[in-house]
């Protein structure tokens, strides 16, 4: 009887080991597939032009052409586009933080009639796809004289997006009411409570909102394509596509260098704020 159990235990252990090996094998193959395109991008970005089409291909360039990067930043006015992109990113982050904290406070810390009904309205706006409104928005921005400037890309962020309101409201609700009630009794105004009590306690979620907005603005393609009609206001995403459509299919090394330069800041931000990222994305599933 005991022997029987022992054999069973052993085979169970063996099975565990086998399944662990299988899981690792699958994950390693998957990881290679997921990582390879990034490696290939970096590899191509550092090759001399003839080597990009060499057969058999090389992963490690025969010669590291760091000058490709210098060339990529002069082939398109890279720094000008980078500056435009940063202006949009920073102003959008500021707009988003100001507007969505105010709105989320109104939806979580003040009791008013019809609050929940209006909040459902906010959530419903997440269903409105950008392509549905982009054309009439163009007309609106045109009347405001914003077409050809960066304004259409950042001013709307001062009108709080639903997702950020949702995220902040979830967080604000976890702050004990005793804290805000005490301040209220002490005669603190609502804005004072928000600034002095709620916001200092909400730093992690504010970081998430700021990061997501920054990345959304950095990555945005359709918005700049529609509203930036003048070349000197182009963002990096738009400038890179423009260069690609003009010279695509030839200078793959420069294209890959420029692409790497666009990817790099995002990856650096990710490694500095990994925890905030993962928590933020996990929260997006909460709505489900």
């Amino acid at each position: 009887m005991r022997k029987n159990n022992l054999v069973k235990h052993k085979s169970h252990k063996k099975q565990r080991l086998l399944s662990s090996v299988a899981v690792h094998t699958v994950l390693i193959i998957g990881a290679i597939a997921f990582l390879f395109p990034l490696v290939w991008m970096l590899s191509t970005s550092l090759k001399p032009l003839p080597e990009t089409t060499k057969i058999p291909p090389t992963i490690i360039p025969s010669k590291f052409m760091w000058s490709n990067y210098a060339h990529a930043t002069t082939a398109i006015p890279f720094w000008k586009y980078a500056k435009n992109t940063l202006i949009v990113c920073v102003l959008s982050v500021i707009g988003t933080l100001i507007s969505s904290t105010l709105v989320a406070y109104g939806f979580s810390r003040i009791q008013w009639k019809g609050r929940n009904a209006v909040f459902y309205c906010v959530l419903a706006t997440m269903m409105i796809p950008f392509p549905v409104i982009m054309a009439p928005l163009f007309v609106v921005f045109g009347k405001l004289g914003w077409i050809g400037t960066l304004k259409p890309l950042w001013i709307p962020s001062f009108g709080a997006a639903a997702f950020n309101i949702f995220l902040l409201r979830q967080f604000f609700r976890t702050i004990p009411t005793e804290l805000t009630e005490a301040a209220r009794i002490d005669g603190c105004s609502e804005l004072g409570i928000l600034l002095r009590i709620v916001l200092p306690l909400s730093k992690p979620v504010l970081l998430v909102v700021a990061l997501f907005q920054f990345i959304a603005s950095w990555n945005d393609f359709l918005g700049p394509l529609v509203y930036l009609t003048r070349e000197n206001t182009y963002t990096l995403a738009l400038g890179l596509q423009f260069f690609q459509s003009q010279h695509g299919g030839t200078f793959w090394n420069y294209l890959m260098a420029a692409s790497s330069l666009i990817v790099l800041p995002i990856i650096v931000i990710y490694f500095f704020a990994q925890k905030a990222f993962i928590e933020g994305i996990s929260l997006t599933g909460l709505k489900g």
């Binding site: 997921f34 990582l35 991008m41 409105i128 796809p129 392509p131 009439p136 596509q241 489900g288």
Partner: protein, 292 residues
């Protein structure tokens, strides 16, 4: 009584940024989309009312009909594939394995790559002549197609490009998987249920709300697909990747047919709402909500 009106006023003041943004950047444009859809409007001259003509013309427009079919094909390919891939890796990455953090980072990284860089990178890899993908296939004795230049392979190529960026949904699934009680798996294991049975009867039902959420967002995303095909194929070859939003974009900004684009926008909105409602109805009985 007085306090409640005071609160109402305070609440409305705090949410006023949203109200103003909502009215100017959402309600008004939607109203305008509907209005333009009944007009002929080229931006330069005032709109002329033409009734239902734009809608009637849409259904006789072969390019429009073809764009609906291509978008549907793309969605039908992309949704199941991306859901299976992300769920599959999420389940594997949820197990206690060596190097889990590194694996998670690797699977997540591609989803951070901006759309433009992603599209250009994959355009290079799919290149029919010098692309690395066909070289790798060649090593296995397979002669790869001219991916983006073939009406048959262009859409699958774009789908594959999208699969590379599923890291976001993997993270969402991982968060959901952590909430599945371990005791359920242990009980199933004692009863002799294998890996597949446990996934099928415990994991999937337990995280069904998140699967539903990813499904809806996935469909809405697919119906709006734009940047990747615009950059990789510009809609070609033979308009096989000329999806709905691309035709909408061209009508509005290349042909300056704002009225026609308005009709397309209204229809897109109706399609999205309809599909959301249908999906919700179809999946309602299969979604398990734990009592909180």
């Amino acid at each position: 009584m007085k306090k409640s009106t005071g609160n109402l006023l305070k609440g409305l003041i705090f949410i006023s940024p949203w109200i103003i943004g909502f009215l100017i950047f959402q309600v008004y444009p939607i109203y305008k989309s509907v209005y333009y859809s009944f007009c002929e409007y080229d931006v330069l001259n005032p709109p002329i009312f033409i009734g239902m003509d734009n809608y009637k013309n849409l259904f006789h427009d072969d390019i429009f009909l073809k764009s609906i079919v291509s978008t549907a094909i793309y969605t039908v390919m992309a949704i199941p594939l991306s859901m299976i891939v992300s769920l599959f890796f999420a389940i594997l990455l949820n197990q206690k394995i060596f190097g889990r953090g590194v694996f998670r980072t690797i699977y997540f990284l591609p989803s951070l790559v901006p759309m433009v860089a992603l599209a250009i990178l994959w355009k290079w890899m799919f290149n029919g002549e010098n692309g690395i993908l066909n070289y790798i296939l060649g090593l296995f004795g397979i002669s790869g197609p001219n991916w983006l230049g073939s009406t048959m392979w262009a859409t699958p190529s774009i789908v594959l490009t999208g699969i590379w960026g599923v890291g976001g949904s993997i993270v969402i699934y991982l968060a959901a998987l952590q909430d599945v009680p371990r005791s359920l798996y242990e009980a199933a294991e004692i009863d002799g249920a294998g890996w597949f049975l446990r996934v099928r009867h415990i994991t999937i039902p337990m995280i069904s709300p998140v699967i539903y959420f990813n499904l809806i967002l996935g469909i809405i995303g697919c119906l709006q697909v734009f940047a990747v095909p615009y950059i990789m194929t510009a809609g070609g070859p033979a308009r096989s990747t000329y999806y709905y939003t691309m035709y909408l974009f061209d009508n509005a900004f290349s042909f300056l047919k704002m009225g026609y684009a308005g009709a397309m926008a209204v229809l897109l909105f109706i399609i999205i709402v309809a599909i959301t409602i249908i999906t919700t109805k179809l999946t309602a009985s299969r979604i398990y909500y734990a009592e909180k």
